[in-house]
Every structure is written in structure tokens, then in C-alpha cells.
Symmetry: C2
Subunit: 126 residues, 2 copies
């Protein structure tokens, strides 16, 4: 697994991960919860919380810095999709958190949001 992570972080891996989401997302072996023109929402393959959903753009966007006006619809879809998932999974009473890691905190070179809920270590109370 470390090898795969190292590869994903390499320049070639970065291009591949982005390309997969842009062109091959129909083949990704993920449990899709919601899909829009611009994003896929699916369960995290290694969840850190009782509810741990990833929201990933269907085009190669390495990180927050690379977002441009052409990604506005994707960003708005993140919030519309979150609203839907919160309703479907009744997350409001549980409490939920939408997280975007970036810069040195980001491990995979494809922009992604985490929607987490249901306990676990949420870190300092922010």
C-alpha cells in the first residue's frame, strides 16, 4: 500500500489519479452514494468514522490552489450533495463535519472533500 501511495504522489501518479476520475470514473470500484455532472460521492474505502464519505470531482483537480472559475459548479455541487446526504442519512442530529485538507495535509493528489459524522476523534473543537 505504501508503494501505491508513493506512486499516487509522483508526477505520473498524479496525472493517473486525476485522469481516472475524469475519464474512467464509471469503472472505479466504489460504492457510489450520489453522482452529479461534476462529482462522485462514495464511502471512504478505509473509513475513519462511522460515516465517512468522499466527494471527488469528475475531472483532474490536484488541489485547492488549482480551482478556477470553471470549477464553480463542482464547488456548489459539493454543498448541494452534502445537503442531500445529510437528509438521506439523518446526519444533522448526529453532527457532521465537511473537511478539505490541503497543502502539506493533503495525501492524494486529487482534490477531495470528506463528509464525516458519528463520533471518532474529530480533533480540537473548532
Amino acid at each position: 500500500m505504501q508503494f501505491l501511495l508513493n506512486f499516487a504522489r509522483s508526477k505520473a501518479g498524479q496525472r493517473l489519479v486525476g485522469w481516472m476520475f475524469a475519464h474512467m470514473n464509471a469503472l472505479l470500484p466504489v460504492d457510489r452514494l450520489h453522482e452529479t455532472e461534476t462529482l462522485l460521492a462514495f464511502h471512504h474505502p478505509k473509513p475513519g468514522y462511522p460515516v465517512h464519505i468522499l466527494l471527488v470531482p469528475k475531472k483532474a483537480i490536484a488541489n485547492l490552489d488549482d480551482l478556477t472559475a470553471s470549477d464553480d459548479e463542482f464547488l456548489l455541487d459539493v454543498f448541494r450533495t452534502t445537503q442531500k446526504l445529510v437528509e438521506v442519512y439523518s446526519l444533522a442530529d448526529l453532527g457532521y463535519r465537511l473537511i478539505l485538507n490541503a497543502g502539506a495535509y493533503q495525501k492524494v493528489p486529487q482534490l477531495h472533500f470528506h463528509l464525516v459524522a458519528g463520533g471518532g476523534n474529530l480533533g480540537d473543537d473548532v
Copy 2:
């Protein structure tokens, strides 16, 4: 302080907090870092991280559930502002995280994003 927090959570307090950001934001005693038509960015008055910035809409929006299409510009401003702050404060090398707490995790009844960086307990690695 507990009294103030309890008040802020009450129906009357909720209206007041939202109203303050909508109509009296020029008077808010905060250290503004960036301002757009739709939001204010300022240092958290009780930071939990070396860098801890709040991004708050300049209108009353209680929580993520209440976001409508009329708030699209605010949401896009959150990301544009984050990009600016990341550049000004050189947060990319430090690593940073954009967080939205909601439902039972949200303490103050005015929607707000946290931009945190520079260590502290960031919780489980998500």
C-alpha cells in the same frame, strides 16, 4: 461566557447573531483579514491552532441546511478567499484544513468555516 453561549443558541440569540453579521458587521470587534461582498474573514477570537481564521457570511445563515442558490456567491467566495489567505500567509507548506461543522457539531447559530493550519490536534487523519 456560558450565559452568552446559551443566549446565542436561543431563538432570540440566533436572530441577533445573524442580524449582527448582516447589518452591523462594520462594528464587529474583529481583526479582519479579508472582506468580500458576501463574507468576512477574521482571526478566531479564541484560536485553537497557530493559524485559525473564521470565514462568516455577511447575512444571517444559521447552518448548512439553510443554504440556497442565493448563497452560491458566498460559497464561491469562501474558496476564493481561502486561496488568497493561503497565498498571503504561505499556508501550503504548513498544511491547512478548511472545516465546516454542522448539525449537532455546530455551536454558534451562524454558518462559519474554519481555516486552520500549523499543527495542533487535527484529529484522525482523514
